[in-house]
Structures are given as structure tokens and as C-alpha cells.
């Protein structure tokens, strides 16, 4: 089966939902799927993190996007994680350097995170992927 590896480096709603949509769709399609959250992307995995904001250039669309997420017409991050994890084929990693930088501990992260890892670990996993994406 194909494999997709994604790095997400932003917590903004418009940066997190599209790649997560691909990651989860891959997992439900039988693919191996992994997502590495680094830098500001890690903030999206904090316990109690809200729906989030859109990037500052697109504030005019924030209400529309939030309404779509809140009404369920677009799945939110936690829904996507729940679906993806239910396949047993999606893994979520948190960047160890960013954890240190932001003063975060393992217990600050939502339970969907599989592990806290570094660059070499992710590279070794991603080197044979069919699709790799970096979203920031």
C-alpha cells in the first residue's frame, strides 16, 4: 500500500485541516499515514486547544470556516484524528525540539499523539513514502 508523510508547522485552521484531510483519507484508503507536528503546528495538539484561527491574510473567511466546522459540515481536527486513528494506520508525532522550546510536556498533548520524536526518526520513516508534504 502507498504511504504518505506530512509535516505540519502551523496551528492555523487553514493549514491544519487540509493536510489532515489527506492524512486521514489516506488511512481510511488503506495507506500508511503519518503526520509530524513541529513548531507552531504543535500548538494544535495541545489539550484544550480550541477550533483555532485562520491565517491572518484570510480573516475575512474565518467566520465561514468556523461555522462550517462548528456545524459539522467540515470535520474538526479532533474528528479527523479520531477517524484516522480508528484505522490503526495513522501515526501522529510531536517534535521534541518544539516541546522543549514551548515548555510543553508529554501530558500537555492530546492522547492521539503516538510519540515525541526527532528529525532523524521522521526522516527514516518518511524516506520510503510515496507522498511527502510540508505545510507551514
Amino acid at each position: 500500500m502507498p504511504k504518505i508523510s506530512i509535516i505540519i508547522a502551523s496551528e492555523k485552521l487553514d493549514k491544519v485541516l487540509p493536510p489532515m484531510t489527506l492524512a486521514v483519507t489516506a488511512a481510511v484508503s488503506g495507506w500508511e499515514s503519518e503526520v509530524f507536528f513541529t513548531f507552531w503546528g504543535l500548538l494544535a495538539l495541545k489539550k484544550g486547544h480550541n477550533v483555532g484561527e485562520v491565517s491572518s491574510d484570510y480573516k475575512a473567511y474565518e467566520r465561514a470556516l468556523k461555522n462550517a466546522v462548528n456545524s459539522g459540515s467540515i470535520p474538526n481536527l479532533l474528528d479527523l484524528l479520531k477517524y484516522g486513528k480508528s484505522t490503526g494506520r495513522m501515526r501522529i508525532y510531536a517534535c521534541s525540539t518544539t516541546m522543549e522550546l514551548l515548555g510543553m510536556r508529554r501530558g500537555d498533548l492530546i492522547d492521539y499523539v503516538d510519540d515525541v520524536v526527532g528529525a532523524a526518526f521522521f526522516l527514516n520513516n518518511a524516506k520510503n513514502s510515496d507522498i511527502t508534504l510540508y505545510i507551514s
Binding site: V24, T25, V28, S29, I74, P75
Partner: protein
């Protein structure tokens, strides 16, 4: 119009990609081989999405109908 009988109906109308596919996949996971799942969707990407997904995971799209902006997608598990 149709004589296909659905064992399970998944109503994903007014939900955007990837909602309909995720709901369908969830229903299919719980279904038994040979059962027919009917997916109702209004997102126009859904028929092609479901066909691409079904090809990859080994299920069969039996029929796609459209009435009043709603797609009726029959899939055999």
C-alpha cells in the same frame, strides 16, 4: 427507479469532503461482506471520491443516482 436494496443507509448530506467518505468508511468497517451500503451525499465530489476509494480498498460501487442535488451511491461491502 431502483430495485437495489440497501442494508445500511449513511446520510452524509450537507457535509463536505472528507465527511461523506469518512462516514461511509466507518459504516463499511462495521458491515458484513456482501451487504449493500447506501450513501446519501450532496457534495458533488462524493461519487468520484467514493469510486477512487472503493477501487483502493476492494469494494464495489454498484450504482450512482442523482435526484434533486442528492447523490445516492450504492456500494457493496
Amino acid at each position: 427507479m431502483t430495485n437495489l436494496k440497501a442494508d445500511i443507509i449513511v446520510d452524509a448530506r450537507y457535509r463536505s469532503c472528507p465527511g461523506p467518505l469518512l462516514s461511509l468508511a466507518e459504516a463499511v468497517m462495521k458491515a458484513n461482506p456482501g451487504q449493500v451500503v447506501l450513501l446519501l451525499a450532496t457534495d458533488p465530489a462524493t461519487p468520484k471520491d467514493v469510486k477512487a476509494w472503493a477501487l483502493q480498498v476492494g469494494h464495489k460501487v454498484l450504482r450512482v443516482e442523482v435526484t434533486d442535488d442528492t447523490y445516492y451511491i450504492y456500494l457493496e461491502v
